[in-house]
């Protein structure tokens, strides 16, 4: 089995554990776990977009007061229930985003005609980035793009698809399968612990 497929399967099997998590602490721990997982497989973590998401979704939920009133700004009540609800939703989205990052770290191949087209698209993308490096000057931008497209067309008298080579797929080792099973177990354990109210309730 290919590494990409193992990660895809692991991600898909984990989805319910994240989506159905009821505990606030549970979802934070799950989010942290998948962030570490994605980052340790080469994905970048940027704090600002995540903070913006957390802040905006939590603030939006404050418009519908829910639960204990913490304080008020004029007539606007800041309620604990709404804050936690918003933050939990934001952490769910962050967890799903990094799970997705992890799922594509091994470049999954799509099946069928669409898969071939996507391979072709990436083949051209690699050619474009290679040609772009040789283009000078890069200003004005429109002229530079035009030069690049002309070069791409001149070099493409033969159908490009004949030059597309299937990348050798990486076969997954038993160790890889084991590691992904462990991630799956940990994320589901966090789900169970959260839903049995073993984590502190906020």
């Amino acid at each position: 089995m290919k590494t990409a497929n193992i990660r895809l399967a692991m991600g898909l099997l984990t989805l319910p554990a994240i989506l159905l998590q009821k505990s606030f602490i549970g979802i934070i721990l799950q989010a942290l776990y998948v962030i570490v997982l994605a980052v340790s497989h080469g994905r970048r973590f940027r704090i600002l977009p995540n903070l913006i998401l957390l802040f905006s979704v939590s603030s939006a939920h404050l418009l519908q007061p829910h639960g204990l009133q913490l304080f008020s700004i004029g007539n606007f009540a800041i309620t604990a229930g709404a804050l936690v609800l918003g933050a939990r939703k934001a952490f769910t989205l962050i967890a799903l985003l990094y799970l997705s990052h992890y799922m594509v770290t091994a470049r999954p191949n799509f099946p069928g005609k669409l898969g071939k087209l996507i391979s072709l698209q990436f083949y051209y993308f690699e050619r474009i980035t290679t040609i772009w490096r040789t283009i000078t000057p890069k200003r004005p931008f429109i002229k530079a793009i035009d030069n690049m497209l002309l070069q791409l067309s001149v070099g493409g008298k033969e159908p490009f698809s004949t030059q597309v080579k299937e990348k050798a797929s990486v076969t997954s080792s038993a160790r890889n399968i084991g590691k992904n099973t462990l991630h799956l177990i940990i994320l589901w354990t966090l789900f169970v612990l959260g839903n049995l109210a073993i984590f502190p309730v906020i």
Binding site: S56, L93, L97, I118, F122, P159
Partner: protein
């Protein structure tokens, strides 16, 4: 490359090439500093605007699909909620841009086409954000979101128009001399 061509293989390759351009332009845009965090010019939509004059309806939809999937794979968001926003925005703008270009070409420039596309995309994404993220508060972010969309789509439209007028590659394609 021979285009316009009646060979389905060559035409599909051309769609893949435009989709690759969209990927490339989205990486270029990533490097451009933004005055506001959520403001983006939408350079990746340039192939969609240019493709209006070159592709059939089916090829045009395929280009939109490849753009969404390619970007999702490169950014790693293909299995997350972000892909839903991307699909909603891209397909709403694709549909409206195609209709505007197809039926109102004589009266609407590429700037108008770009504005129509951006507004359709923004409305679709705002509607989705109402259900997925913000609830009723989506109304609050709508005005700045639409204003930023309007400004960036005008910039993109001007860019597309300039490209169409000045590009030797585009002229050659239209003449069929490439």
């Amino acid at each position: 490359m021979t285009y316009p061509s009646s060979s389905p293989k060559v035409r599909i390759e051309f769609v893949a090439l435009l989709a690759a351009c969209a990927l490339f332009l989205s990486t270029v845009e990533y490097l451009i500093p933004k005055p506001v965090p959520f403001m983006r010019i939408g350079l990746a939509n340039l192939p969609l605007i240019i493709g209006l004059g070159l592709l059939t309806k089916r090829e045009y939809i395929l280009l939109a699909l490849l753009k969404v999937l390619g970007q999702g794979l490169i950014t790693g968001t293909i299995f997350s909620y972000i892909i839903l926003f991307s699909i909603a925005g891209t397909f709403a703008s694709t549909l409206l841009m195609y209709i505007v270009y197809r039926f109102f070409k004589q009266w609407v420039s590429l700037i108008g086409v770009s504005i129509a596309g951006a507004m359709a995309s923004n409305v679709a994404q705002l509607t989705l954000s109402q259900y997925l993220l913000f609830g009723a508060a989506a109304k609050l972010i709508a005005p700045p979101f639409l204003v930023v969309g309007l400004i960036s789509s005008i910039i993109l439209g001007v860019f597309a128009q300039q490209f169409e007028q000045n590009s030797a590659w585009y002229r050659s394609l239209r003449k069929g001399s490439l």
